[in-house]
């Protein structure tokens, strides 16, 4: 949606090396005006480093950063049109909440009455209007996070950078803050770049997500596309849960791939336009919630199906995960089923002989 708008941030072949180790390795991407952009990846993949380079707290070893049409090389951190919310919030302990929020304005020479007014406004924006006179140690973690947010927004930056802003909050508050962040972003219209290693967070908030691994961007797409059409096994595995079947491409007919998997009686068929060549090794990635369990084989012959035996059931509240053995050679297949009924009336139980089935439109075949 936002790829057509003018980019506010352009990252051009940026690398950051610490000694010989590349924390960020030749990243190129652009972020559109008004986007809610997420950098997602496992610990140590270079997300924070990339964000810090945008803020000017770290200098790229190679490549160029352009923010709002202006080359950022040589522009120090205190003159960049971006502001950051730090992972530890870094709310100054010796200043009142109001002074914290007003600090950015104070150092850029704004007059005192205006500082007060704008800081108060920013505090109201994060629903802390009455907390101005408090000291940071009189606030809860969630409130401190809002102070950090207000403090970064008060200067009306072109881009707001957030480094794992929700990681220090408890689960309930985190969910609530996700919504609030999205609403806030829509209110202020500032581009948000958020770093997270929590896929749910990225999926629920971002308009686009860049999945990073080992300093490189593996895939950049909107949440639904990332989930339904991952490009690599890493992305498929990192976003959500997935069953992976390794096999060889047997045939490709009219956009239907036939993947012969050792251990399965029938090849897996998947409808896909972009196909690996016949004979290549590939992997079918299948989400647990897309598989159906039944006592009888499916009537539709075009559907994929395989017999199996339920070996384990994990109860997760809204869903249960059934672990099904389809072959001794393959790992257990995970199947998610909504717990429509109470557990006591589960349709299937341990040791049941069942059929797993899924349509050709489910899943993707990956060659990496």
């Amino acid at each position: 949606m936002s790829t057509e708008t003018t980019p506010i941030v352009e990252i051009n072949g940026v690398s950051k090396r610490f000694g010989s180790f590349a924390a960020v390795d030749n990243v190129t991407l652009s972020i559109g005006q008004g986007e809610f952009f997420a950098l997602l990846g496992p610990s140590g993949c270079g997300k924070t480093t990339l964000l810090r380079m945008l803020a000017g707290l770290e200098l790229p070893t190679e490549g160029r950063l352009i923010i709002d049409g202006q080359d950022m090389s040589g522009v120090p951190a205190n003159q960049r049109p971006v502001n950051m919310v730090f992972q530890s919030y870094a709310v100054f302990p010796h200043m009142s909440v109001l002074d914290n929020v007003g600090y950015g304005l104070k150092v850029s020479g704004v007059q005192r009455p205006e500082i007060r007014e704008r800081a108060q406004e920013a505090l109201a924006l994060v629903k802390l209007g009455d907390f101005g006179q408090r000291m940071p140690d009189q606030l809860s973690g969630g409130q401190r996070q809002r102070v950090a947010l207000a403090r970064a927004l008060v200067k009306r930056p072109k881009v707001l950078l957030l480094d794992e802003p929700l990681s220090a909050l408890d689960a309930k508050l985190r969910e609530q803050m996700r919504l609030e962040l999205v609403n806030l972003q829509e209110t202020v219209g500032i581009t948000f770049v958020i770093v997270t290693h929590d896929q749910d967070e990225a999926l629920s908030m971002a308009s686009r997500i860049a999945v990073m691994e080992a300093g490189q961007v593996r895939q950049l797409a909107p949440p639904a596309e990332l989930y339904e059409f991952p490009k690599t096994r890493f992305v498929a595995d990192f976003i959500g849960s997935v069953n992976m079947f390794e096999g060889r491409v047997e045939a490709v007919e009219k956009d239907v791939i036939r993947l012969a998997c050792p251990g399965l009686e029938r090849p897996i068929e998947v409808e896909q336009t972009d196909t690996p060549p016949v004979g290549a090794t590939a992997w079918a990635a299948l989400r647990p919630e897309k598989i159906e369990i039944s006592k009888e084989p499916p009537s539709d012959p075009t559907e994929n199906a395989t017999p199996g035996r339920i070996e384990e059931i994990t109860y997760l509240g809204e869903v249960s995960i059934y672990h099904v053995r389809v072959s001794e050679a393959l790992p257990l297949v995970k199947v998610a089923m909504a717990n429509v009924d109470r557990v006591t009336r589960r349709p299937f139980t341990w040791e049941d002989e069942v059929y797993l089935s899924w349509t050709r439109q489910c899943g993707v075949v990956l060659d990496r």
């Binding site: 951190a77 205190n78 502001n83 992972q87 870094a90 709310v91 950015g104 150092v107 940071p136 200067k155």
Partner: protein, 287 residues
């Protein structure tokens, strides 16, 4: 109630209740006696109405008056305070900058530099004193300057042995600093100087105050190093007391010493209090 019952109903002594064990109490008592008996005697006899420090003859403030009237003593006292004030300011700034340098930057031989800086803390004072004496006579430091410039040699000597203490205290404080504070300030548009003034100094403040008070008391009661660096006209309080004692220990000396003890104790307590307060305050936000 009879006495025997009192003893019989005593609760057994718990494993960690050291203060209820007799041998522990005796040790404690002995420690206090050895540590404080001389000081208590000194203070008590400063109020004694007698020329000699042997028999108690009744309460009097006359030796305080006498000490006040002793121009040489007063001059030495003023000298000591002047030196202490000036050297404290210099040592605090120097110590704080050293601590910042060691904390912030990485440079070759940093470990060696850090060790060398702490040397004045560990090497015997007498060696420092001799070294200072040798140094000032080698460079031909003028001794005939007017007051207060004539105190410059002592002041310099004091700075050189007290600034490492400041540096150590401030450095310890900086260890607890979360760099995200200074980065946040920078990100919000603060220049290097503004970051230093608005974030670093407030954070270091308890360390600075404690370090300064430490430097002040160290300077005020230093004898050895001062003795080697003072000229004939630049007598400090401890040196003066020493020379008075060489004739006889009069209650006048007691009175003057009591004033010094009171001053040192007050400053030390203040320093400790400031430091404990700084520790209690939650400086780190959300880990």
């Amino acid at each position: 109630m009879n006495l025997a019952a009192l003893f019989r109903h005593r609760e057994p002594i718990g494993p960690l209740e050291y203060t209820r064990r007799t041998w522990m109490r005796l040790t404690l008592l002995a420690t206090f006696v050895f540590l404080y008996a001389p000081i208590v005697t000194l203070v008590a006899f400063s109020f004694n109405d007698s020329r000699r420090n042997i028999v108690w003859r009744g309460f009097s403030l006359k030796y305080y008056e006498k000490a006040l009237a002793n121009d040489g003593l007063i001059e030495a006292f003023v000298n000591s305070l002047t030196i202490a004030f000036v050297q404290t300011i210099i040592a605090t700034i120097l110590g704080a900058l050293t601590a910042l340098l060691l904390w912030r930057f990485r440079f070759p031989f940093r470990g060696g530099y850090e060790g060398a800086m702490a040397l004045p803390i560990v090497i015997p004072e007498i060696c420092m004193g001799v070294a200072m004496l040798a140094f000032f006579s080698r460079v031909g430091w003028p001794t005939d300057l007017p007051w207060p410039l004539n105190l410059s040699a002592i002041t310099i000597a004091h700075v050189s042995f007290s600034f490492p203490f400041v540096a150590v205290v401030v450095r310890a404080r900086l260890e607890g600093f979360n760099r995200e504070f200074s980065e946040a300030a920078q990100d919000l548009g603060a220049s290097e100087w503004q970051v230093f003034r608005d974030v670093m100094v407030p954070f270091m403040r308890p360390g600075l105050v404690a370090g300064a008070l430490l430097a002040f008391t160290l300077s005020l009661d230093d004898f050895v190093i001062t003795f080697f660096t003072s000229g004939p006209d630049t007598v400090t309080f401890p040196v003066k007391v020493y020379s008075m004692v060489r004739f006889s220990v009069t209650p006048e000396v007691n009175a003057a010493s009591t004033v010094l003890i009171a001053l040192t104790v007050v400053l030390t307590v203040l320093a400790l209090w400031l430091q404990s307060r700084a520790k209690l305050k939650p400086e780190e936000v959300a880990g």
